[in-house]
């Protein structure tokens, strides 16, 4: 999973493939590490993500909450996959997490 640090407070995480029960723990650990390093704007770039399940979604929600508590933000960007995009639309994720 690549990460790109855009400035001292912002970072972009670029996961690949499917974010599901088999690997969502890895994403959680990565996000926790960035959170502990003090990044306050974490963007998950979905360019290379083709599926996400409920455990993956749970991790996004967790960090959305953690970051918000210290006035930061979790964002989701570049949702290109049609299935992922449809799922986000149906569950109205944009009402909770900023999707750019």
């Amino acid at each position: 999973m690549k990460t790109v640090k855009t400035d001292d407070k912002a970072v972009v995480v670029i996961p690949e493939g499917s974010i599901d029960i088999s690997n969502s723990q890895g994403l959680k650990e990565k996000l926790l590490e960035l959170y502990d390093e003090g990044y306050n704007t974490i963007t998950i770039d979905f360019t290379h993500v083709n599926a996400i399940d409920s455990s993956g979604l749970g991790k996004l929600l967790l960090f959305h909450k953690l970051l918000k508590e210290r006035h930061g933000e979790l964002r989701v960007s570049n949702v290109t996959n049609e299935n992922v995009s449809r799922m986000f639309r149906i569950i109205q994720l944009d009402k909770v997490i900023k999707i750019i």
Partner: protein
């Protein structure tokens, strides 16, 4: 674990056995037995069930290597610590001991202090292992009880106004599931059905499914006593569930996805509302072909502002059946990593009509098993099929699960 530890001494020479026994007795051990050959050792292990074996290597018949190998290859005896007692000082013999699974060595002539120290440390390990094993067994027993409770909370029979029939399938990926459904009468010809899938599928998820059931059951009880909870609607049920969820201060990463509907079986109208239910709900068998209901709505969770839910209604034709499922179905992978997907499901539903409706769930389960190459699946799978039986068709609402 208060029982004194049992030690078995295996040596073909009586003098050696006596010496070891005396050392052990001096160290305070009282439950000591002896075997004079490899063959006898195996019999003694069965009888005595020792907590530790002191094993001589060079013996006529079965030697110590072979006895050790046999003990370590059987599930009932593999965790009994074995100390090999050897006059062989060469590296190859010690490596062979390790290869056979021995836990430690002692060189002859045996030094009593060393013997005492090694025996004590291995018995301590043995005790920890047994405590862990007991804890594990207790935990498993508790989870199995929880599983029985979860099963008992599923509906056992379904309401059947106006020839309405339900076929269901419910199979958690592990002992406990994060899926839950319920189907019950709201009086007259109205039936309520809901299907929920919560994040995770272990104890936390199972507890959350009980929360859903109890919250909704409580809501319906209040309604039936006329306790002013407003008009009766799927949307209001979800609002009540969300309100209760927010009051509970659940952790932020857990959430509920749910589809909830009221079905008026005489008028054949379905009123429904959904939260985070990303997969479509299908209406099959109608003259106009397969229809799908897209169910907009955020999952129920502690995040975000108070949300509202959409409520929609649809009229079913006399031929149409309703099919809903949790995504464990479509996300099941085969051995090549390919997903079952919606395509296969659609194809099956397109070929469905009222005369075959009672076969839909069993056929689909068979297809999924064939696809997965197994009888168990990687996520919880729940399938619900609602259809109107033809005149004269037997009522068959059994819970069609793996139990």
């Amino acid at each position: 674990m208060g029982a004194p530890p049992k030690i078995l001494i295996v040596d073909d020479k009586q003098l050696n056995r006596r010496l070891l026994q005396r050392y052990l007795e001096e160290a305070g051990y009282t439950q000591i037995s002896q075997a004079a050959s490899g063959e006898e050792a195996l019999v003694r292990v069965e009888e005595v069930k020792p907590d530790l074996v002191l094993l001589d290597i060079v013996m006529p018949g079965l030697d110590g290597f072979e006895v050790c190998r046999r003990l370590k290859s059987r599930e009932e005896t593999m965790f009994i610590p074995v100390i090999m007692v050897t006059a062989l000082h060469d590296r190859a013999a010690k490596l062979k001991c390790l290869e056979m699974g021995a836990d430690d060595f002692l060189s002859k002539p045996v030094d009593p202090m060393e013997l005492k120290a090694r025996v004590r440390s291995l018995l301590r390990l043995r005790r920890y292992y047994q405590q862990l094993k007991e804890l594990n067994e207790n935990l498993l027993a508790n989870i199995k009880t929880a599983q029985r409770i979860q099963r008992a909370l599923l509906p056992r029979e379904y309401p059947s106004p106006a020839n309405l029939r339900f076929n269901t399938f419910y199979q958690p990926a592990e002992l406990l599931g994060g899926d839950y459904f319920n189907i019950f009468s709201l009086g007259g010809d109205v039936v309520c059905l809901y299907l929920a899938d919560v994040s995770g599928h272990q104890l936390d998820a199972a507890m959350l499914t009980v929360f859903i059931r109890e919250t909704l059951a409580g809501y319906f009880r209040k309604l039936s006593f006329g306790e002013g909870v407003g008009p009766f609607s799927p949307r209001r049920c979800l609002l009540a569930l969300e309100e209760a969820f927010r009051e509970e201060d659940f952790p932020p990463e857990i959430f509920i996805t749910i589809f909830l509907a009221f079905y008026h079986s005489k008028e054949r109208t379905l009123t429904y509302s959904a939260a985070g239910f990303a997969q479509p709900v299908f209406l099959y068998g109608g003259a106009g072909g397969l229809r799908e209901l897209v169910c907009y709505g955020s999952p129920i969770m502690s995040l975000g502002e108070g949300k509202d839910f959409r409520e929609q209604a649809v009229q079913l034709s006399a031929e149409e059946g309703l099919f809903l499922y949790t995504d464990g179905l479509t996300e099941q992978k085969n051995k090549d990593g390919e997903q079952f997907g919606e395509g296969r499901l659609r194809a099956l539903l397109k070929g469905m009509d009222r005369t075959k409706a009672s076969q839909l769930v069993p056929s689909l389960v068979q297809m999924l098993r064939d696809f997965a190459g197994a009888d168990s699946f990687s996520d919880d799978v729940t399938l619900i099929n609602m259809f109107v039986a033809e005149e004269g068709q037997q009522k068959g609402g059994e819970l069609n699960d793996d139990a």
